[in-house]
Symmetry: C2
Subunit: 129 residues, 2 copies
Amino acid sequence: MAVHEELPADAGQDAINELQSIRQSIDNIDAALIHLLAERFKFTQSVGRLKAEHGLPPADPAREFLQIQRLRGLAEDARLDPAFAEKFLNFIIAEVIHHHEKIAGDTAGGRTIAPPAAAGPDDTAAPTA
Amino acid sequence: MAVHEELPADAGQDAINELQSIRQSIDNIDAALIHLLAERFKFTQSVGRLKAEHGLPPADPAREFLQIQRLRGLAEDARLDPAFAEKFLNFIIAEVIHHHEKIAGDTAGGRTIAPPAAAGPDDTAAPTA
């Protein structure tokens, strides 16, 4: 369901209709973004578990560099600011780290979850500790 | 094309294969996110132009409130942290404002683009000026 609200009565009806149509598209895109982000975090949590189980290093600067370069390239092709694409990846990374910190907290509480170091950010551009 | 790199030789081959498979999924999702974001910014720029043309107010707190509530609800259904969904919307909003500031700069340079006030953030949770 899209989000609608009242618009000024003095705007032309055609303009109001067009604005509502665009907003519905924005709302549809936002729903898709939220669902893709939810799926992405499921994958990064799988990566964290897998790395913990197999003693793989938490961060991988080579992959992180390639991820940034790739997203910047995709952004250019899509006429999106490459600097924004990089900021976006870093924003996501911060949340991945936040998830892993929560895992660390749960581990401290006695739950049998992988240790935080081994469940580090991965697939992020976070600096290697 | 997904982003691959060397992994430690002492990790099990099955683990490495699984990690590469998950990373390919992450890369696919990232490509989708970038393209959706590019499309979203096209729409917000259309909103900015439309509002400027019709003298509609740049910000709409009622819509902004509803957008946040809706995204939080979608996030809960998708098992994504609702607080993250709200942070994400605010992150996007900051970029929309940045776009509109650039339009303002272009206007100051003499190009025939809508004035910044009328091309304000809209469809964002930015405070009304």
